[in-house]
């Protein structure tokens, strides 16, 4: 994870860096100014797009956390981590979108998985 966070210019290329880390953080303020003037419209296309991008980024970060090969999770086999995430999500859905059920199941799954299948 730290490798991803400390990603540098070489890793993602100058143009992508320009857009993600130059253009976006800069434009955000102009966009918010526009929102203020034109009204905070939750359904406006810009906000919809921003939410999509932010959600995608969040998903990416989660995927990296789950799949990372360093840090405390590294000693748990990848299959166990993925399996626990899937089970946790399934429990979330079954429990009528209960976050509590999902987290509990995921935690239990990872603990049991590590105990029985881990190194």
């Amino acid at each position: 994870m730290s490798a991803a966070l400390h990603a540098t210019l070489q890793d993602i290329g100058p143009v992508l860096a320009l857009i993600l880390f130059g253009f976006l953080p800069n434009e955000v303020w102009r966009l918010v100014g526009l929102m203020l003037v034109h009204g905070l419209d939750e359904k406006s296309q810009i906000i919809v797009w921003v939410r999509a991008v932010a959600t995608a980024m969040l998903a990416g970060v989660l995927a990296q956390l789950i799949l990372s090969t360093s840090g405390p999770l590294a000693s748990i086999p990848v299959s166990v981590r993925i399996g626990a995430s899937v089970l946790g999500f399934a429990a979330f859905l079954i429990g009528k979108r209960s976050v509590f059920a999902g987290v509990l199941t995921g935690e239990a799954a990872i603990l049991l998985g590590t105990y029985f299948l881990g190194t």
């Binding site: 130059g22 303020w29 102009r30």
Partner: protein, 252 residues
Amino acid sequence: MKNPMSVEPADPPAHVAFQVFLDGIVAAVRSVFFYVLIGNYVGMGALAHEVGFSFWWMALSTVLIWAAPAQVILVSTLSTAALFEVALAVTLSSVRFLPMVAAILPTMRRPGVRQRDLILPMHLTAISVWVEGMRLLPLMPVERRIAFYNGLGTGLMSGAVIGGAVGFVLAAKLPPLLSAALLFFTPMAILMSSARNSRTLLDGLAFALGLVVGPVVAAQKIGLDLMWTGLIAGTMAYGVHRLREARRKCVS
């Protein structure tokens, strides 16, 4: 079917809008900011070249970002700092766009203007464009303002892009001494414009403290040094400001 009694200003026809757009460009070229921008961006183009970015990258950065402090931050820190830190620094440096856009966009609005018509004026807003816009827009009927502002912004941005290109090429071709002088232009220009714009103790103090705290923090090698510099020096300056305000309230 338009109600003949309606006083709602109509959209100007396309050829008139284009004419007004051109008027905006002319106003840009006649503005003193045009030359200040070119000067600034010549220095920035040279900086981009020396740090190692490509010609088109520099041009693209001017068009996409259109903010000198953010671009200077990008050019001077992208290759050395973590991207996360760069993004935070850029975000902080551009806060002023929020009140600027919020102040000038309403002057262009009238019933019927769609949000997407305001997107270009929004993006073109930068200090020079904004200052000239605030000065010139009130002088014309509201239905012309968007086209004019777009012309103004496009004209000024074009000057900046050209300046950046010139600076970039010059840095490659000039002898080292002149090239060094060209590079030095950016810190000088930022120093002068920050000094000129600092009308309050807070601004001046924050800047001076930043100059001092910056190298000290960087020497600690803890990473995120730009952020810490901003937070430490900025909060110190703000603290002094609050103390003075409190003391003034006690006296009065």
